[in-house]
């Protein structure tokens, strides 16, 4: 009894320690962003003497345009990607989960294969295509692929989910004279809310964090998104002020943290049922 309790206590202590060490740098960044700049190097602790917000005002206005523009750009981009993924991936998923068609197994195999296709392999010809039609420095090269269901991970997530829905419902609707569009819109879509929620939150976080493609397509400061702007800010201030760099880093992580708090149930479910990314 007592040894069992002791070992359980040790387990908790170990887990808390691991978690603390892992999250310490992030907590420290948040605290440090509220300290006067010269103190960051001296204080490895988490206790604040006073609350300074000058790092935030300094960082916010360091680039032209200010950070508000980048947040807005990222928000527009994320919204476009979410809508694109929700519409196109759910349509494709319905076809793969519920319809019988020629070559279905092949197409499904190709779809699964594209989950593992690295973006670096397609970025060069994609860039050539999009720059030839004048889409560089717009959000189109980043949003249009989502409208075309190229995030196959979400197609797969939704296929898995639709397969779990009782078929009797669609068959009843079909007997009542519903065609596929109506079965999809009226029956399947309302039932797959958890999968749509997972898609929304994952798309939000991944698009918000995505750096590679945004770095390539967005070169005009007016069009910068948060990660591109943050990187350009860090490069331009070369080690002069950690305070403002930390402050803007915290600003850039805050939306992800909020999305995580709101949606963690769906995130965990989504990863666990599809095997994640």
């Amino acid at each position: 009894m007592t040894t069992e309790r002791l070992s359980r206590l040790a387990k908790h202590a170990g887990l808390v320690l691991i978690g603390f060490v892992m999250l310490y740098p992030v907590l420290w960044m948040v605290v440090s962003s509220l300290r006067p700049g010269d103190e960051i190097f001296r204080s490895p602790g988490l206790i604040l003497d006073s609350l300074q917000t000058e790092n935030y005002t300094e960082g916010w206005n360091a680039l032209t345009p200010s950070f508000g523009t980048y947040l807005l750009n990222s928000a527009i981009l994320v919204l476009g990607c979410i809508v694109g993924n929700l519409v196109s991936c759910s349509m494709a998923a319905y076809a793969f989960a519920r319809l019988q068609f020629t070559g279905k197994r092949w197409w499904f195999g190709i779809m699964l294969g594209t989950i593992m296709l690295p973006i670096h392999v397609i970025i060069v010809p994609q860039y050539v295509l999009f720059s030839n039609i004048g889409w560089v420095n717009t959000f189109l090269p980043l949003i249009v692929p989502k409208i075309l269901a190229t995030d196959a991970f979400f197609v797969f997530l939704m296929v898995q989910f639709i397969r779990g829905l009782p078929r009797e419902l669609d068959e009843a609707a079909r007997i009542d004279g519903c065609g596929h569009p109506r079965i999809f819109l009226r029956i399947v879509l309302p039932l797959m809310k958890p999968a749509l929620a997972a898609t929304t939150i994952f798309t939000f976080i991944w698009t918000w964090n995505d750096f590679f493609s945004q770095l390539i397509y967005l070169t005009d400061p007016e069009m910068y998104t948060v990660p591109v702007a943050l990187r350009s800010f860090v490069d331009s201030t070369v080690a002069t002020s950690w305070g403002s760099q930390f402050a803007m880093s915290v600003v850039s992580l805050l939306p992800i943290f909020l999305a995580f708090l709101i949606g963690q149930r769906y995130l965990v479910q989504g990863i666990a049922t599809t095997g994640g990314k």
Partner: protein
């Protein structure tokens, strides 16, 4: 359960067709077909063609035969990038999965506060690929960074971990291990699938903790471990942001953080040598495909399917 199991199933053959809905399927899949043509498979094929040309986006592409591919064989900077990338993948992925499995085992079986721990360990894998965390890493492992402050407490002399070519890559490996939360969640889901009766039976037979782990948990978890291994290797090959930010886009110091993807980016989007970048992209695809194929082949010897 996972995309990989689906692929296995496809090889075995699926259900037979009753009635076809080709027209409806075409419309439901129309966006996806367009994406396949324009955004994914189309560009893969196009990049194969571009690989045989010299192209800088301004002048039209000029055919140069196998020059770009020959250059891959003689490009010593590329060979260094391959060495860096392989080291990164082969060291960080096993470490990351070991942490993920270890913590998942600790968290399994009705532990109090499971949801809280799970969230705390999962959070870094959502943050890890961001520029902000790379900025943080630059400070933490810098000469006057957090790590050296903490080492200073214990009287240990620190150094510039990121500015030293011998340790710069290690800091990125640590960063990848830090994001073990997402494979951990997959392990947790897998652990929950293992029937409790197996452990009860083993306990009756007098099996200890170790033999229960080696004889029950690990074999039954091996498909999940395999899945995580395949995906995390593919994922690690594509790492870009962290090396880019930490090195200021150079892959330095002395090319010690020059990931393959970073080199590809420099060739394609700093020097606008689109032909060579396309050849590099194809070569990367072949490398990842080869790794995945080896993984699938090796799986025959250690992955245990219960069906």
């Amino acid at each position: 359960m996972s995309a990989l199991d689906e692929l296995r199933g496809l090889r075995r053959g699926g259900a037979q067709v009753r009635k076809r809905d080709n027209r409806a399927a075409f419309w439901f899949l129309a966006p996806w077909f367009a994406g396949l043509l324009l955004v994914t498979v189309g560009p893969v094929l196009a990049s194969f063609g571009l690989g045989f040309t010299r192209y800088n986006l301004i002048q039209p592409p000029r055919l140069i035969g196998f020059d770009n591919f020959a250059r891959i064989l003689s490009d010593t900077r590329l060979h260094n990038a391959l060495r860096v990338t392989f080291t990164y993948v082969l060291v960080s992925v096993p470490l990351q999965l070991a942490c993920a499995l270890g913590v998942a085992l600790l968290l399994n079986r009705g532990l109090r506060g499971l949801a809280f721990y799970r969230s705390a360990f999962y959070l870094p894998s959502l943050l890890g690929s961001s520029v902000a965390i790379a900025v943080l890493w630059t400070q933490v492992f810098g000469t006057e960074g957090l790590v050296n402050r903490v080492l200073g407490f214990f009287g240990v002399e620190g150094k510039g971990w990121i500015s030293d070519p011998d340790t710069a890559l290690s800091t990125l490996i640590v960063l990848n291990v830090w994001t073990f939360g997402s494979p951990m969640i997959i392990f947790l889901a897998g652990l929950r699938q293992i029937p409790e009766v197996y452990y009860e039976a083993a306990a009756i037979d007098g099996a200890g903790r170790w033999s229960r782990f080696w004889r029950i948990t690990l074999p039954l978890l091996s498909p999940i471990l395999f899945f995580n291994l395949v995906l995390q290797i593919i994922h690690a090959f594509q790492s870009f942001t962290q090396a880019f930010v930490v090195s200021g886009g150079t892959g330095g110091p002395s090319d010690s953080t020059m990931f393959y993807t970073l080199y590809l980016y420099q060739q394609g989007f700093s020097r606008f040598d689109m032909g060579y970048a396309s050849a590099l992209a194809w070569f990367l695809l072949l490398i990842i495909a080869a790794f995945t194929a080896i993984n699938f082949w090796a799986a025959k010897f250690w992955v245990f399917y219960d069906d």
